[in-house]
Symmetry: C2
Subunit: 348 residues, 2 copies
């Protein structure tokens, strides 16, 4: 049988009340007795039953996920996974609240965060660009005992408790290896397309990409980044012009969104299958593009894992429980047509 607090009390020769005081770090216990209890815990291998503890605590984990109002496929996927996780989380007395903020307005974001303490939120997962205002808002939350986790893109200079997401620079390096090897040996040009190089993720990926291409594939020439500024039309235009202007372009690396517009313009120019197209994030469109052979590979992170990991980390933080680093390490996934995850229904 697993030892319980009663066993600890007996072993340590103290009362239940004292064990309780030690376990929950309540004041009024001598150092000496704390040691006695700790020894008993160690000796018996006691592990607190968190389920029972939380039941008694009447603890209802309210977790907020704060996301930008961007209409991108990625954020939509994230929302979908959150909806799924919400249902599962209910049985573990965890409520998920999704909060949307205007992506271009750091002040509005800070105002929304400032409201969280009143909502009795235990933790926040935050997907937002780092700004000075945000730094202060996070600091304020932490001071009020609310855990903060950075989601997807890190907030390294803030006091966030944890970062849940992948290393975008490593993701860029991974793309580069694939691009370089898929292109083959001859001299080639690679175009890089991004929504905007003001986005951290894009910059980091590009940095990693250039790093590896420069080091391992000297014959490959990476062209300057083309920016779409979020407009499919612009993307089509700039890529079209680029392809007409340069000869010897063998691959295109898409740093962010715009898969549809990109595969379309390649189709229009009759170049499908002749270019190595590599992008990020496995959305439904990208899935189709992989199956159709319009993209060679996608570097992605598992959004389901992302959400569950953020939830586990937030729970661990509010429970003051250690985090299993191995489990929370998100992988940089490479997806080709042949290892596309099958839908649930296809699995036996």
């Amino acid at each position: 049988m697993r030892p319980t607090v009663i066993d600890i009390a007996r072993e340590a020769g103290v009362s239940l009340a004292t064990v309780d005081r030690v376990l929950n770090e309540r004041p009024g216990v001598r150092e000496k007795t704390i040691l006695a209890v700790s020894d008993a815990i160690a000796k018996l291998g006691y592990v607190r039953d968190m389920a029972a503890a939380n039941l008694a605590r009447q603890r209802n984990y309210r977790m907020a996920f704060v996301l930008p109002d961007t209409q991108s496929q990625f954020v939509q996927t994230l929302r979908a996974e959150l909806a799924i996780a919400s249902v599962a989380a209910l049985a573990a007395r965890t409520e998920i609240e999704v909060i949307t903020f205007p992506s271009e307005d750091p002040h509005a974001l800070a105002a929304l965060l400032a409201e969280l303490p009143e909502k009795a939120v235990a933790g926040v997962a935050l997907m937002a660009p780092e700004t000075p205002i945000l730094r202060d808002a996070i600091k304020a939350l932490r001071l009020r005992g609310i855990s903060v986790v950075a989601l997807v893109s890190d907030l390294p200079n803030t006091e966030r408790d944890h970062f849940v997401g992948i290393n975008n620079r490593a993701a860029g390096r991974t793309s580069a290896v694939l691009m370089g090897r898929f292109l083959g040996n001859g001299p080639q040009k690679v175009a890089v397309v991004a929504q905007s190089m003001l986005l951290r993720e894009a910059v980091e990926r590009r940095l990693g990409f250039d790093e590896v291409i420069g080091r391992d594939f000297p014959l490959v020439d990476v062209l300057p980044t083309l920016e779409s500024h979020g407009s499919p039309d612009v993307l089509r235009r700039v890529v079209g012009e680029m392809l007409k202007q340069f000869s010897g372009v063998g691959g295109i690396y898409l740093l962010g969104s715009g898969h549809r517009a990109l595969t379309q313009v390649i189709d229009d120019l009759g170049l499908t299958g002749q270019l190595v197209v590599i992008g990020h994030e496995l959305t439904p469109h990208v899935r189709d593009a992989l199956i159709a052979g319009k993209m060679a590979a996608v570097i992605t992170q598992n959004v389901g894992h992302l959400v569950r990991s953020a939830l586990r980390v937030l729970r661990a933080k509010t429970d003051k429980t250690p985090i299993d680093a191995g489990q929370e390490q998100l992988r940089i996934e490479i997806v080709l047509r042949e290892n596309l995850p099958t839908g649930p229904e296809e699995q036996a």
Copy 2:
């Protein structure tokens, strides 16, 4: 506030005892009242608090993991992950027992499985080749209410509840795409090395590999499988002979274990960096080989996820709770040097 059984009873106009009977599918309730209770549950959005339920049930999940006594790196990794999971599982009142069976003795395996009911085991995760004796043993376990999950390699013709692992044929296809693209355009030969083609996994991977090479890379010629029979010496000899005999061998596909011997013989012949070597399973040696550039890519499954998924599935089965297919779907992971998972200490 979340509704509780008391709210359900009030809403349905029945007593607590009746709600309990319905929730736990106890006999002696009229269809009509079952409906009334179900309606109340739906109306109030009641979700059973599994933490409290399991606490009251005094349920201690004893799960057995039955593994072969093979000394392979993969099985060792699996054992290591099980050890880690054991600690974490304790807090969730789950005990893990690892049972080892002689890999060549199906009767001994069956005998071990037959002992499980006495041990009050709730579920079994099983990594073993399918035999008629095993089929019967699994059937017997299921009849006694013990859930059975096939681990790593499926047991499709048995009555196992679930399979936790990857599709090896798809893994072979994925290897083929990488091999084909990494080799480039010219005509090339690819050697395939396996421990033994009597192993299911090896056969399935080879099937998938041939399928894609044949379809998408007509210029690539796949040589007959070389078998090492588990001996590093044999592997070195046969691969060495092969490389001397055939010219134009551009790649080697390693279906199972033997990474060390393979990279060594390539080294000895001074061919490191000139051959595209692709293998399976990310063990420490393989990790080193990737970093040193002695292997180009590895197709693997996340053993940590494997273990946790098996545990979750077993728990769900014993709780008669639905399974989140998305979460339990194991990915076929492609690992290159650049997306090697960093150790826990490197993340921050």
